[in-house]
Amino acid sequence: MGRKILFITTDQQRYDTLACNGGVLSRTPVADGLAAQGVRYNRCQPTSVVCMPSRSSMLTGQFPSRHGVWMNGVALAPDAPSVAAELHDAGYKTALIGKAHFEPFLDPFGLFIENQLASLQLPTIDDAWPNGRRGPHRGFDHLEFATHGAVGPLHYAKWLFATHPEMVGEYFAPLDGELNVSAVGGGDSGAPQVKLNSIPREWYHTDWVAERTIAWLKSLSSDDDWFCWMSFPDPHHPWDPPASEISRVPWRDVDLPENYPESAEQRESLLDQKARHWRAWYDGRVVSNYEAPAKWVPATLTANQVREVNALNAVEVELIDEAVGRVLSEVDALGWTNDLDVFFTTDHGELQGDFGLLFKGPYHVDALMRLPLIWRPAPVAQVTPAVVDAPVNLVSLASTFMSIAGLATPSWVEGTALPVSNDDARERHFEASITEWDSALFGVDVHVRTVVTSQYLYSEYQRGTMHDGTEGELYVLADDPLQRVNRFDDPALASARSELSERLRTHMTRENQCLELAPVVAPV
């Protein structure tokens, strides 16, 4: 028997929402316990700050410029490399339960396999693998899908509609009648994408994902090796947790985030230091990407709306933590704890009031780029608990999983296995981490490349409809942890800027990138 892997992801969760990372709103004893027993990463970064590219990187171990999912709405090729396929080939039982999103959700023509599988209620199908063989879709024996609310043909939505149809409409409708991300407000403050949801907690998608994971684990033999990607749709908006739970975090008692400037003058002054699309979005002049409501103007965001969104987000984080605890208890009862590696992370962050903004987009600051990442290695591996400060990236997950399984790293993997200590990080040169952004939608395109080191966060904006190719942002993390002072043009940092720019050049000129952009075939 080998080590088993429970890979837990959430969606759009900030680093500072976990108590072990300094968060004060949510109680997260399960995640905190995993961190205490394992490795907690202080600066983990995604390859992209939106779902589809980031999730595709977790699966493939490649950056978006290699796997080709350069923005939401671009489907990952069915025969793209997959760590699940590698593990499956090595004899692992494999499952993904919850939010996948390697393929678009909006799919009236029924073109995408994830949607077809859910429609037909099939666990998987034979499909092309990267090595030319055929096997279960992307290497997963078992797929059960959920997303935000009860929409589309996915398994959770079908289950809720079949068993509790009166609850389907309790969720916030994430898209409006024109299929834009909805700007409708609710709750007490009128915050966008907030709704009081009377669904009982046990029917909410967080608990459904945990219960379906437990059911799959119970279907295995005790001597099976397994890889389970348990993927919670929360705390991504809409912020509509079960109403029975919202008293956990009374929003009126919530302090404003440290990086929320209360006066409009302060906010505008900070935004004006950044590349021009920041202020243009804030003012409602440009919405560069589909993921933010097209009909919502960030400048209208109020302090109370920020408080309420943060409170509801914290409730959702607590529910996830408790769901993870239930799954781990079940794993323990099944006798696997000593052989189990547990990973907890997310695909990207959420602005959540920082700089007076909500949601996400081409805004490469900690709110979106600094992620929770915890690895509790299997106790049998006897890894010393540690906190790793070096910059790491989600692109390292695939090779880490394969390393745990004792597999050689295939040539298509771009990330190297995660370090387990600062010394390990130093020896293996974890010095910098890259995040990419590309979007082109309805006449607006934005292209950003960002590198983070222990000292700096540096972004270059390539030529597009919003930028002329000369703009950038440079933040000195030790002096400016909130990334408020853009020192891109500071002569005192010219040398650092040159070195950081060279790191980006090296990344952008590496071999085996996609030479031709795959088409955008859906909004999301």
């Binding site: 024109e178 589909y290 309805f442 909004p523």
Partner: protein, 134 residues
Amino acid sequence: MATVRFERRIAAPVNTVWSVFCDPASIVQWFPGVTGVTVDGSQRVITLRSGIQMPEEILTVDPLIHRFQYRVTSALYRMHLGTIDAIELGPVDTLCIYSTTAEPHVMALVIGGGTYGALKEIERLALELVDQGV
């Protein structure tokens, strides 16, 4: 209003490419995810794999300039115009362009996203005809 446009250069004569898509009822053969079609005069109704039925009006079938145009008349759209053009670049070299213009603008991408695969199928069928000497 927004436009989504895809194009494909096809190694086939323009009339061969045109013959693939000029018949309003042929859409079921070359548009992935269209599982049914009925045509009554200028009115066409297509059925999508998701079960959605989409009523359309055929606007242009012009064999001289190789243009096919239609509009979705469903209430989901305030405006829609789909245009397929086949443009002769050489004796066996055709540029095929599929444009979708719509209001609300997201609807252009929801429907227009499917046209990328449609162009690939039009190419496949045109090349089959070339192989058959048609």
